[in-house]
Amino acid sequence: MPRARLARLTLATTLLTLAVSGLAGLAPAASASAAATPDSADRTWMIAAHQGNLAEIAAGRSALQRSPSGEVRRIGQMFITDHSRLDSQLTAVAQQLAVTLPSAPSPAQREELAVVESHPGSAYDSAWLAAQTVAHRATLVATQQELSTGTAPSVLALARATTPVVQKHLIELQNAAGSVRSVKGGTGGQAATASSAPVLLSTVGALLILAAGVLGVIRRRRGAVA
């Protein structure tokens, strides 16, 4: 099931995020003299943000090719434009700081997009919007972490520039998802139980009829004896 695969992937993303958070927590406190060079938190965020940019660009291209919704395609194009711009700024800073960046999204990110693309029609849009929401939240949380623990001014400036863009994307994703009109939360009926009143009434009725019959027989016999 695509949903089951998506659940496994989100679990993998969770573990990755936890690992990233752990690495960030181990970063030594920076002194003012060391602030010009990237520390562990800065490097970790740059790599994660770069792969996030690449994944969002790929997701945008996927939406342009596959989505039946003009709104989703518009957001996909926005992702391509914005994340390309953010990534060109990020790669320039990485070169200055001698930080080596991966050349592609992570295997988990690529597989997650493949899962989204396995949904047909409007289900693709629903899966795409949900997956992108999860990804943008992860980026925002990682960026908040960088802003609180990072030290290199140029990386912190990148993180500050990234935040409003990703926030705007998150709002676009939320608005495109539409409004909830109903929740159809049960299909089996096993949790439901029928009222016992009709059965009780029927039983009492049958007993009364039986009692009337017995009483009638007794009365006839007594009448015959008399």
Partner: protein
Amino acid sequence: MARRPTGPGPTIGLAVAGLACLGAGLALGPLQQPRVQVPDLGSEPAVPVSPAPPGPSSSPSGTASALPASLPWTVAASPRLLDLPTQRVRAHVVPIGLQSGSLDLPDDPHVVGWWAAGAAPGDSSGSAVLAAHLDSASRGIGVLTALTRVLPGDPMMIADAAGDVHRYSVDSRRTYAKADLPDALFARSGPPRLVLITCAGHFDARTGHYDSNLVVVARPDG
């Protein structure tokens, strides 16, 4: 010597009463539908509405003030695990969207869906909505049947993808006819809260659906 009455009065009376009960029982039987019905609980309204969402008071980038107010300034990572310790329930949480305006709930009633377009547990504002099937024709009774047993004050915990745990306490439980489910339950602004939804009421075996929603609202601790 007095003669005992031999008329048919008591016998006929019993027979008539019996026929009436039997008839009523047989007539009501087919009209009775299986149902899930629990009393509403909680002293506070299930749907507190705050028209003024808290927005960011300052922005490190200087651009956040232009953002729509619907975005919480502090956002949390996506939820992954729901824990209802008083009910001994722990369930995986997966992101879900909409299909034709309805929440696209996980087929498996042991898995809980998080409405990804709403707030997330831990966001600084808005309703974080979790929902699941009460039961499933193929997979039996689901984890959110626990909502029929929760009481005001019961704790609820949500672990998110970043490893943070968000703690809530149950405020209220309400049953709504499906057509009357308040839009405000899905508000992206207003005070932060956790909203859990499943089904309740009459189950129609012909359509395979319940006619009501059971809604539990919890507020963040601290």
